[in-house]
């Protein structure tokens, strides 16, 4: 199976997950978007050498995974697949910053190693929070949340429209690439000479499709406005969700909870 099919399946998978009906799925989408953003900003705001203090942040994704009924595997897969860039940038930290930062027993640990591991932790946290947002919230609901958050209407409509057609176009590209690879086997990608005509033809077909869609929309009375049908009311539970997590994030940011816990447990021994 090639990359396109993988991505297509993944999108489908998220769509299915978002269509579930758990307590998390029932939350107001705006609340989830805001909480996710807050979480990511909080994670990013930790000091560069923070390791231990970051761990309590894992409670938030764990909460969503549990209550939202989301399989961990799909998150882990994405984390691993998007890792390379972060690794590429972060891997140099241990080599460039060799000043001793701490001792574990008699081992000296360099600051670079700490900050590198910290990068990996931040990465895992922010990636899983983002994916959990789309796994528990349908795209329409996110669109609604965005327009409630005063994102210009045209961009909300654009995102929703695009999301709707991604499936169609990926399927089309998938078919084209399959046809190409059957006729030109054992090649690493589409050859130089056919770049233009392969993508160009797809493009022409896409433009024709846009034309047909436009006509179909006109037939159904399209007047340039896209109206989002579903409306959500903010309930007490939504506000509680936002407030509790905000307080939690701030608390975790200000107090190094694991450190404190450890001290408490080991109290007399250290």
């Amino acid at each position: 199976m090639n990359k396109i099919e993988h991505r297509w399946l993944e999108l489908r998978h998220f769509d299915e997950l978002a269509a579930q009906d758990s307590l998390i799925h029932q939350l107001h989408p705006g609340v989830k978007v805001v909480t996710t953003l807050l979480f990511i900003v909080m994670v990013a705001s930790f000091s560069k050498y923070e390791l231990v203090g970051l761990f309590p942040m894992f409670i938030y994704p764990a909460f969503l995974i549990g209550l939202g009924n989301i399989p961990v595997a799909i998150l882990l897969k994405r984390v691993l697949l998007t890792l390379p860039f972060v690794l590429f940038i972060g891997i140099f930290n241990p080599f460039l910053d060799q000043a001793t930062y701490a001792y574990i027993g008699s081992f000296a640990v360099s600051g670079g190693l700490i900050s590198f591991i910290s990068i990996l932790l931040r990465f895992t946290l922010s990636v899983s929070a983002t994916l959990l947002l789309v796994a528990t919230t349908s795209m329409d609901a996110i669109g609604l949340a965005l327009s409630k958050l005063r994102v210009p209407r045209i961009i909300v409509i654009q995102i929703l429209f695009m999301y709707r057609y991604i499936y169609v176009l990926i399927e089309e590209v998938m078919k084209t690439i399959r046809a190409h690879s059957l006729r030109a086997p054992y090649r690493n990608g589409v050859g130089f000479k056919v770049w233009g005509s392969l993508v160009g033809l797809l493009l022409l077909r896409t433009l024709d499709r846009a034309q047909r869609i436009y006509q179909a929309m006109m037939c159904r009375g399209f007047d340039g406005q896209v109206r989002i049908m579903r409306s959500w009311k903010i309930r007490t539970g939504d506000i509680a969700f936002l407030v509790v997590w905000t307080v939690f994030f701030v608390l975790v940011r200000l107090v190094n909870i694991p450190h404190w816990l450890g001290r408490m447990l080991l109290g007399g021994f250290s």
């Binding site: 231990v52 045209i154 990926i170 022409l204």
Partner: protein, 351 residues
């Protein structure tokens, strides 16, 4: 290449969000004025098209490797800069959401790097100038290639500056710059070649799409004034952040958003630690254990310390830290597992 949330500081992330949000609402206004309702499905479908085409691998002649398309230049040439910018923004948003390419905090950076530079710099200043009114194959080829390469070079430069300003990576500025610019020169060449090939094909098959697409030249034109204003804002924001960066701790260690925004972060833990210390005195195995000694260590290192900052923070990684971390993770996992059970119960009763 996408900036990632893990490598960015909140200051840089939110500054770029502000800049990008400004650009988006400006473009949205522009597009709204000029748009006929035909454009709405066109933008959506073109966005989906670029999204799908980005997944095609193009084999690079004589190297055995393959690359893929960014697509901003194709969009700019076909739709004009404003519409192209909005379309790129939506593509990057979907990628950030579903494929975790980049991330939500870094989204502003990514839209700026991969949307602003090609649509508002490379397209009007290179492609438009080179192609001019007399559209020929050669001009398209040179214009599209050059614009794609330069657009990507600027984008890569953006990544380097944003990473550097965030201060999470240790990479020295110049080394990182040289590496990124040269990698992106190669990527940009492929981008340029693919863009050229596609645009030339369209030019051959349906020239009208490129010459006057979709209804007139209005969308292709771009006044420089707003662009210059935006560049000025970017320069100010960047300059402002740099000066904060410089005026902080010399080794830039503690540079974090709380410092940048001037919040009195060090004050806050005192109260909480006081309460916690009391609590801890009550529950710890040895009540007279001195919590105060570690309170500096657990929080942010204070800026006025004589000793190197290293010593101040290290106990975060002491045995207690390790034990506490494991415990926290177990708790997090436990909460997840427990909630899963709750969810199943809930489901059972619901049916």
């Amino acid at each position: 290449m996408h900036m990632a949330d893990a490598l960015i500081s909140p200051a840089v992330g939110s500054a770029m969000w502000v800049v990008t949000a400004g650009l988006i609402s400006y473009s949205a206004k522009k597009v709204k004025k000029e748009i006929d309702d035909k454009k709405i499905p066109l933008m959506g479908v073109m966005g989906a098209f670029i999204f799908a085409v980005q997944m095609i691998n193009f084999s690079i002649p004589a190297t055995g490797s393959s690359g893929h398309l960014g697509g901003a230049m194709i969009l700019a040439i076909l739709l004009g800069p404003y519409t192209a910018f909005l379309t790129m923004a939506s593509i990057l948003t979907i990628q950030a959401l579903f494929f975790a390419d980049g991330g939500l905090l870094a989204l502003g950076c990514n839209i700026f790097n991969l949307g602003f530079f090609p649509c508002f710099i490379a397209y009007p200043l290179l492609y438009k100038k080179i192609v001019g009114d007399q559209i020929t194959k050669q001009r398209i080829a040179i214009g599209a290639s050059l614009a794609a390469v330069i657009g990507l070079q600027l984008g890569a430069f953006g990544v380097v500056v944003e990473t550097f300003l965030s201060g999470i990576s240790e990479l020295p500025f110049t080394t990182f710059l040289i590496v990124m610019q040269s990698i992106h020169l190669a990527i940009g060449l492929v981008e340029g070649l693919v863009t050229t090939a596609v645009i030339l094909f369209i030019f051959k098959e349906r020239a009208e799409i490129i010459q006057g697409f979709p209804s007139g030249k209005t969308l292709g034109n771009l006044s420089l004034k707003p662009i210059l204003t935006i560049m000025l804002v970017v320069a100010l924001v960047t300059g402002g952040m740099l000066s904060w960066f410089a005026s902080g701790d010399p080794d830039g260690l503690e540079w974090s958003v709380t410092k940048v925004t001037g919040l009195e972060e060090l004050e806050a833990p005192e109260g909480i630690y006081g309460v916690l210390a009391d609590l801890q005195n009550k529950v710890a195995i040895f009540p007279d254990y001195n919590f105060r000694d570690t309170n500096q260590a657990a929080g942010e290192p204070s800026s006025g310390q004589e000793a190197p900052a290293w010593a101040a923070v290290d106990s975060g990684l002491s045995t207690a830290g390790v034990v506490g971390s494991i415990l926290t993770l177990v708790v997090a996992g436990g909460i997840g597992k427990l909630l899963q059970i709750v969810h199943r119960r809930h489901k059972k009763f619901a049916h």
